[in-house]
């Protein structure tokens, strides 16, 4: 009996020792994603992607010969939990940087922790409030709504369809889009002729569209996430509305085409380049990153990658590049992140600076059109 005990404790001891020596060699990066819960459509692909990128980096020899270790916690979309887990990552796991959280609400909650503990945070959420005003330790990789609006308006201005009708969903995504659409209209010489909303659970939007049909609008901008915009596309087809429909980047997935069916034909929307990676010209600086991301994801998970996973790809790669240049202390990582220029990621080309921790411009989006149930770049 005693022998077994000794053997056991010896094994335990050696295990403990080995983990300690192992830990000393790796660089620990923390990750907070809402893998479960209402935002799992973001957190799921983000977790997969982050793990995949770290594995690929380690396979290729790590960073300066040292392996990266990703410690992922699931926040379940809960801001309180996100704060607790962020503290755990910093205090217990001693990570040098944190990627995530997935949603804007969680990110806003975690920011004070990162600021207080002086740990760089690279959020994967979209809200403009995360990096405006600039916080010393906080960066983000997802595109703002404001950039998507600017992209649509710029396009409309170019084709001289400046009288628009907007139809937005009455939830957080829609109201933020509506705010931006109204705020930026004047700057781009756009006139909003009618401003309508619909409920996230509404099943028929013909009334709103009939009203829009009666106005002089040259284009209709719909701001929502599935399934609303798909129903609107079908309703517009039923009503025989010839006015071109513009969607938000909220529907930039194959799911939308599947839901709207034939009614999706000819719709235009701003989207990240991931959807049209193989159609990009060779000269596009993002093409290489995009293709390797899409291929790796397909190999690892036997599923098609989406733009959400791309936010995590960008976050991990940005941190990795920063470590490569400046070493693994949190302060050095932060300084190097801020110095990032012309980093071609999945969501766009990042140029961080002291006054800009979001790093993207409206060129992070391309206007795409749905043709034959597939995406086409609008020239």
């Amino acid at each position: 009996m005693k022998k077994i005990q000794i053997v056991c404790s010896f094994i335990m001891l050696s295990l403990v020792c080995s983990t300690i020596s192992f830990a000393a060699d790796t660089i620990k990066i923390g990750a907070l994603f809402s893998v479960t819960g209402p935002a799992s459509f973001l957190g799921g692909p983000e977790r997969n992607t982050a793990q995949m990128v770290v594995d690929e980096i380690n396979k290729a020899g790590g960073v300066k010969g040292r392996k990266l270790e990703l410690i992922v916690y699931d926040t379940a979309g809960d801001a309180t939990k996100a704060v607790q887990l962020a503290t755990k990552l910093i205090k217990n796991d001693k990570v040098v940087a944190i990627v995530g959280p997935s949603t804007s609400g969680e990110s806003m909650a975690v920011i004070p922790v990162a600021e207080k503990e002086h740990i760089p945070l690279v959020s994967c959420a979209a809200s403009i409030k995360i990096t405006e005003p600039v916080k010393k330790w906080v960066f983000k990789t997802a595109q703002n709504d404001a950039l998507a609006v600017a992209k649509i308006y710029e396009h409309l201005q170019k084709i001289k369809q400046t009288n628009v009708a907007i139809l937005t969903v009455s939830d957080g995504f829609g109201s933020s889009g509506r705010e931006q659409l109204k705020a930026q209209a004047e700057k781009h010489g756009i006139k909003i002729l009618s401003d309508d909303t619909y409920g996230p659970k509404d099943t028929d939007m013909t009334a709103q569209l009939t009203k829009i049909r009666g106005s002089q609008a040259q284009a209709v901008i719909v701001w929502g996430t599935n399934p609303g915009p798909a129903i609107i596309a079908k309703n517009a087809r039923q009503l025989g509305i010839k006015t071109p429909l513009y969607m938000s980047h909220g529907v930039s997935s194959k799911k939308f085409i599947e839901l709207a069916g034939d009614a999706s034909e000819g719709l235009r929307l701003p989207s990240g380049r991931a959807l049209v990676a193989d159609m990009l010209p060779k000269s596009d600086p993002q093409k290489k990153s995009l293709l390797s991301f899409l291929k790796d994801y397909q190999n690892h998970f036997k599923a098609e990658a989406d733009t959400f996973g791309g936010h995590a790809w960008d976050a991990v790669m940005l941190v990795k590049n920063a470590i490569e240049k400046g070493g693994d202390s949190p302060a050095a990582i932060r300084d190097q992140l801020e110095k990032t220029r012309n980093f071609s990621g999945i969501s766009g080309i990042f140029n961080f600076s002291e006054s800009d921790h979001a790093g993207l411009t409206k060129d992070a989006f391309v206007m795409i059109e749905i043709k034959n149930k597939d995406w086409m770049i609008v020239k």
Partner: protein, 293 residues
Amino acid sequence: MQFDQVLQYALSGLSTGAIYALIGIGFSIIYNATGIINFAQGEFVMLGGMLTLFFLELLKVPIWGAIPCAIAVSTVAGLLFERLAIRPLRQPTPINLVIITIGGSILIRGLAMLLWGKDTHALPPFSGDEPIAIGGATILPQHLWILGITIVIIAINKFYFYHTISGKAMRACAYNRRAAGLVGIDVRRMVLFSFIISSAMGAVAGIIVAPLTMVAYDMGVMLGLKGFCAAIIGGMSSGIATVVGGLLLGVLESLGAGLISSGYKDAIAFIILLLLLFLRPQGLFGKPESERV
């Protein structure tokens, strides 16, 4: 304000209203047989839609086979719901029963989410999706299916309740359960029947609207509430009054969204519901109930 605009509002409203009517009748059938308001009615609508999709996409059954299968499975679900959740109740006070139906609806929704995920899915329309023009307004062939099937179902209902023995027995239960029991009507069986009928009707409603509204595990919540609203306007009658209630609600919603403001679309429906409950709790067409002492 052009005429064809108003016509379009009216037509859109009528076709949405027909769905509300169908769901509303499901509410009133159970209410009349048992005195309870079955808040799980919306979930049977969802089950109809989701099961059709399940048979169609996963089991590769053709659409004309998938629909009867979906109705059958939803009906069995309604039957089980009555047997397992409603009947075993020791003290069937109305408030207990209502809470049980709310619990049941959450359970059914949760199971559907676990089984089929949270994604929204599209179902193909029954006969193409080329719009049909009616005097400047347009509707889809699916709208005609909805109106047609609603009319057929209401006719069948009418026949069942007024010209068959079991239908008359169910009405007897509605008037006076005790007396019905005394003349030899098996009241518990009638309650079971009412659940079977209304879950089947809910499923049919879900199937015929699915090509327009798409299906998701939580589609039943709002549709159920609107159906309930229709039943209240109709004074919880299982006949024409509820149908009129549903159509009225649909048209008012659509006109409200078009002419007043789309932001207030749901508010309009619920303001009507509240006003009716305050001013005419017996329904728009009903006579005030008087209780003999």
